[in-house]
């Protein structure tokens, strides 16, 4: 994946013009602030060891170096774990060259105790590595490692420095860039930085006996490298590799950082003065400062390490002019303060800061003030201009500063970058007077109602007007110096009950601001909406300290009825909170059951239905019924009994039908019983008929 990513990164150059925009937005002030406390807190945050130790020795070194540059107290446990890691790496013979190199680098900061035996082992290993090196990183790590050992141990020598110098130099390309190894075709500025650092190491081992012509050609190579430097609009300069598929492509920050490191280290070891314009060094410093606070540990290290290199380099040390505040209040009589520091924020040599001129932003008029020197304040270390010049009223200006070094020989050591333009906002309290709101009659222009407004306090006027009238709002704005002031925002807003808004720009003539709303011409714009309109007045400007937004009150407008084809007011946004939420519950209303009489009544009538039966039985007893006609013979008696049993069965069947049986069961049984009933009934009835016929005939 990283290869792929780097490959894409290489294409980033296409979009680099875009970074200008991005930088100019992020760092909207076009000057650069030196390193501040925010870098320190970021460093502590970014280099937070995981369970007490960093992921790798490289990261350990980066953390230690960053803390060192920023002057952050090293936490003892970080130092202890770093030392443990260092001695482990140094002691073991299986550690890689790269780890060994970074262990020695970390050691150069934390100063761990490494015994002589271990040193001897390292020296042997590194010397062997130098002899066997075939690629630029091999040389870089081994020579760098030897140099570090020399730094802490002393008696280390590099055999055949001249030869190694030539070997490394073989990686050089004609355009000032370098290759990582002889068989990789592409050249990079990143490699150039590494190569310079390596060569600087070689030179410091064998300074006197080295062929000076080698160093001179290297000088011209560096110049060539600087020809390929790239530039942002705000003056920041950087290096980037235009590789299409270099697997070690690092991005502009790492590349620039590598070049700066190599350059400054190399400049420190040669006697010859490098032929690099000092403005380029300033541009590089601006690049690193313009990044602000990086969010990545590696980026922060690169930034800090490079700035530390620039802080004390032998080419030229950039001085950064910065202003703690570019918003100055005329009313509060703020003084103009200017800081001149090195990139890491330490004090600059004796110098004078001159205010060369002050120009109104956006105009090409002559300077508003005479050239003058700023007073140095020993206590704060700042250059002050105690009272802003009288000619400076509220507004936005461009101040032009110039740094003049006191000692002429400092001109060679330091670079100041000539005149420096800084945008300054001079803000102040604007006097608001004569604020009035009035309703005018259209024809005559006579005032119908007029109310004074206090725009500093609360107002609640209530007016009413019809479409034949006009509304006038007027006020007067004066700057602290008594001049006319034209704010950027002078808006009158009318808001109808239905949230339809109408905005008008309040125009001015000199100090007097006035807007007249002729409702007759506005009825269509107002969508013929009569009713209450809330009035708001907003007056504001970047340099107006008392910018305001005031609800003045309301006006009741009586507009004519809309004609047929009048445009409708635009839809207003719906409140998102009311759009959702639970709905009202719905319960089904069931059909009411039919009304029924009370059960007692039914039972009473049930009792009544048995009364006729009772009467019938009593009547029968009273009539003296008897059953004398019941057949006396066995056979007819049996049939008679069966007949009545079957009648009883049919009746019982009816009861069962009522209770549980369905029609089909009932009919089935009834058919069966009916046949019996008919047969038996026939026998009984014929017997009875025969008996009665016998009786009659007798």
């Amino acid at each position: 994946m990283p290869t792929n990513l780097n490959f894409e990164m290489a294409r980033s150059l296409v979009g680099f013009t875009v970074l200008l925009l991005f930088l100019s937005i992020c760092e909207s002030a076009s000057f650069f602030q030196p390193i501040s406390d925010s870098h320190r807190s970021a460093a502590v945050e970014l280099f937070s060891p995981d369970h007490g130790s960093f992921k790798s020795l490289e990261e350990t070194y980066e953390a230690l170096r960053t803390f060192d540059v920023l002057g952050i107290e090293k936490k003892p446990d970080v130092t202890a774990t770093a030392c443990r890691l260092v001695s482990e790496t140094v002691g073991s013979s299986s550690s890689t060259l790269k780890d060994l190199f970074y262990a020695l680098k970390a050691n150069s900061i934390v100063k761990c105790k490494i015994n002589d035996k271990a040193y001897q082992g390292i020296i042997t290993r590194l010397n062997a590595a130098v002899d066997g090196a075939s690629s630029l990183p091999d040389f870089y790590y081994s020579v760098g490692g030897l140099l570090l050992v020399k730094g802490s141990k002393g008696d280390v020598h590099l055999a055949d420095a001249d030869g190694i110098f030539r070997l490394v130099k073989a990686f050089r390309q004609s355009d000032g860039r370098w290759r990582f190894s002889s068989n990789s075709p592409e050249s990079s500025a990143f490699a150039a930085g590494i190569a310079l650092e390596t060569l600087a190491g070689v030179v410091s081992f064998a300074s006197p006996e080295l062929d000076q012509s080698l160093i001179s050609t290297l000088n011209s190579d560096i110049s060539k490298l600087f020809d390929s430097i790239e530039k942002y609009d705000d003056g920041a300069l950087y290096f980037d590799d235009k590789l299409v598929d270099g697997h070690d492509h690092q991005g502009p920050l790492a590349t620039t950082s590598s070049v700066v490191r190599g350059l400054t280290v190399f400049a420190a070891v040669t006697d010859e003065r490098l032929n690099i314009p000092s403005n380029k060094i300033l541009g590089l410093a601006n690049f690193f400062l313009g990044i602000g606070v990086p969010g990545d540990a590696k980026d922060l290290f690169n930034q800090m390490d490079s700035l530390a290199c620039l802080e004390s380099n032998r080419v030229s040390i950039p001085l950064i002019l910065s202003l703690p505040s570019t918003v100055l209040s005329v009313t509060k009589e703020d003084s103009l303060q200017v800081n001149v520091n090195t990139v890491l924020g330490s004090n600059a040599p004796p110098l004078t800061v001159k205010l060369v001129g002050v120009f109104t932003s956006g105009s090409k008029a002559a300077s508003l003030v005479e050239s003058q020197e700023l007073v140095f304040d020993d206590g704060t270390g700042m250059y002050n201009l105690n009272n802003l010049p009288k000619s400076i009223d509220v507004g936005s200006y461009t101040f032009v500063f110039e740094i003049v070094l006191h000692e002429p020989e400092h001109e060679k050591i330091y670079v100041t970058g000539g005149q420096k333009k800084v945008p300054i906002f001079a803000s102040g309290l604007i006097k608001i007077e004569n604020a009035e709101i009035a309703v005018l009659d259209s024809d005559l222009g006579s005032i119908e109602t007029q109310k004074k407004l206090d725009l500093a306090g609360q107002n609640a006027v209530s007016l009413s007007a019809n479409h034949l009238q006009k509304l006038r709002v007027s006020f007067k704005l004066t700057t602290p110096h008594g001049l006319a002031f034209k704010p950027h925002q002078a808006l009158l807003k009318l808001r109808h009950e239905s949230k339809v808004e109408h905005i008008f720009v309040v125009g001015n003539s000199g100090k007097q601001f006035e807007i007249v709303l002729n409702f007759l011409g506005l009825v269509e714009k107002f969508f013929y909406l009569s009713g209450r309109y809330d009035i708001e007045l907003a007056v504001g400007d970047a340099v107006m300290e008392n910018s305001l937004l005031r609800a003045i009150g309301h006006i009741e407008l009586d507009l004519p009825e809309p004609p047929e084809k009048a445009t409708r007011p635009p839809p207003q946004p719906v409140d998102p909170y009311s759009r959702y939420g639970p709905k009202a519950e719905i319960t089904h209303i069931f059909r009411a059951p039919e009304k029924r009489p009370p059960k007692e009544l039914s039972l009473a009538f049930l009792g009544l239905t048995f009364l006729p039966l009772l009467g019938f039985l009593i009547g029968l007893l009273r009539l003296g019924v008897n059953l004398k006609n019941f057949p006396s013979n066995t056979v007819p008696a049996t049939f008679a009994t069966l007949f009545h049993v079957s009648i009883g069965a049919v009746l019982s069947l009816y009861v069962l039908f009522w209770l549980k049986l369905d029609l089909f069961q009932t009919l089935k049984l009834l058919g069966f019983l009916g046949v019996i009933l008919v047969l038996v009934g026939h026998r009984v009835l014929s017997h009875l008929a025969a008996t009665s016929a016998k009786l009659k005939s007798a």
Partner: protein
């Protein structure tokens, strides 16, 4: 031939983890995010934001917006779950990506973050317009607020705005209150009032307006007051989520770390609310919050457990559904009190709020209306910031059968009595009539 086979197996084994980790209905959090930049410097200057995403397990793929190799899909499969457009000035995307491709990407349920900036290109504006958001047409306009700006020693033009007018929704911006105002510097946008899917998450103060800070204001600004939206979100009907803002720098490390003091207020905050606000918002955008699922929709008669094929009118029934919210790693019970079920036939006959057991089980019991026909159990749950749930289950309701009516009605006892007494009389009469002498 054998070589091809090896390559095939190798590529599958490389792709497999990606395929398994991607967005799915079961694990709705996005995994693979394509970040399109104008410039790789943004990767470093906005690294805090990217790191917070990486720490949460997102796989960010940084590409230049004009890289000719970028593609959102290959062979009909989307390569990414979400897209971050941090490329305000891109005029034309590289590769096969264009506005239609991005809209299709969203239409297929993927998420999108758009950060525009001053001088945003027409392309980015077009993408935003497709999402229901209109940036100020004036290319050099910025949001200016002379009373709600962030006090700064070096920014005097009042385009650096400290805004604290957040949407009141815990699910979108997190339950922890954002104390410090959010820094914003860029262009404002307005929302299409008829679009109900787009929400203003951070709005400008009433005194804000959108204009070019360098030129005189002669016509009324198009956008003013709290109608200006600084940050908006869209939740599409397919639950794709979109974040749109007119400030790329609000994601930057500088704004994340910067202290903030709102003009007119004496409270100075050590750190702006940007980090909290944008991190919480990204959790919502990438479906780590507010993504609901409903499972185990059940209904049965009270006292039974099996789901019947149909109900009879006036049956007592119980309806239950389990609702879970995705927390980014697992499904957690969703607890609220406003989930409602409808018993619906052309219009709701019953609408009842479900009660929950705090473990995600929502239930309600009610009586089937005395109207028969084909009903539906409907849960249409829509809440600000949550994905919407739309469940429906069809169920017929029948009237009483003939033998299901009441059998022995007391009111009819006199009729029964009359019939039976007549029958008894007939029985006695049959004896009297036949055998009386």
């Amino acid at each position: 031939m054998g070589k091809f086979w090896v390559i095939f197996v190798a590529s599958i084994s490389i792709l497999l983890p990606f395929l398994c980790n991607s967005f799915s209905p079961e694990t709705p959090t996005d995994r693979r995010v394509l970040v399109l930049l104008d410039d790789f410097a943004v990767k470093s200057s906005h690294s805090s934001y990217f790191n917070s995403l990486k720490l949460r397990g997102f796989d960010l793929d940084f590409k230049l917006a004009d890289d000719p190799k970028i593609a959102l899909q290959r062979y009909g499969q989307y390569l990414y779950d979400a897209l971050i457009l941090f490329c305000p000035s891109v005029e034309r995307f590289g590769g096969s990506v264009d506005v239609a491709a991005i809209i299709n990407f969203v239409d297929s349920g993927h998420d999108l973050i758009i950060a525009a900036d001053v001088n945003a290109s027409d392309l980015i504006r077009e993408v935003a317009t497709e999402c229901g958001v209109d940036f100020d047409e004036d290319p050099s306009a910025m949001v200016i607020d002379h009373t709600g700006y962030a006090v700064s020693e070096t920014e005097g033009d009042h385009t650096l705005i400290a805004s604290d007018d957040f949407i009141k929704s815990d699910v979108i911006i997190g339950s922890k209150k954002i104390e410090a105002p959010v820094l914003f510097q860029g262009i404002g946008h307005s929302l299409n009032p008829v679009n109900s899917l787009v929400l203003k998450v951070l709005s400008a103060s009433p005194s804000a307006y959108s204009a070019n800070p360098l030129s005189k204001l002669s016509t009324p600004p198009l956008l003013t007051g709290s109608a200006i939206s600084l940050v908006s979100v869209v939740q599409a009907r397919n639950n794709a989520r979109i974040l749109i803002t007119g400030s790329l720098s609000m994601f930057s490390n500088r704004f994340f770390r910067s202290g903030v003091q709102k003009s007119g207020s004496s409270t100075k905050y050590e750190k702006s609310g940007n980090e909290q606000f944008l991190t919480e918002l990204s959790k919502w955008i990438f479906h780590e919050r507010g993504h609901l699922k409903a499972v185990n929709v059940k209904h049965h008669k009270v006292g039974e457990t099996d789901e019947p094929a149909l109900y009879r009118i006036n049956d007592e029934l119980e309806y239950s559904v389990e609702i879970y919210e995705w927390s980014g790693t697992s499904w957690e019970p969703y607890v609220t009190d406003d989930v409602q079920v409808q018993f619906y036939m052309m219009s709701p006959y019953v609408l009842k709020t479900l009660s929950n057991d705090k473990k995600g089980l929502y239930s309600a019991s009610f009586k089937v209306p005395d109207v028969y026909g084909v009903f539906q159990f409907k849960v249409e749950y829509q809440k600000l910031g949550y994905t919407s749930l739309s469940l429906s289950k069809q169920i017929p309701v029948r009237p009483y059968r003939h033998n299901e009516y009441e059998r022995f009605i007391p009111t009819a006892y006199p009729y029964y009595g009359a019939a039976f007494s007549t029958m008894a009389g007939f029985f006695i009469f049959s004896f009297v009539h036949l055998y009386n002498k």
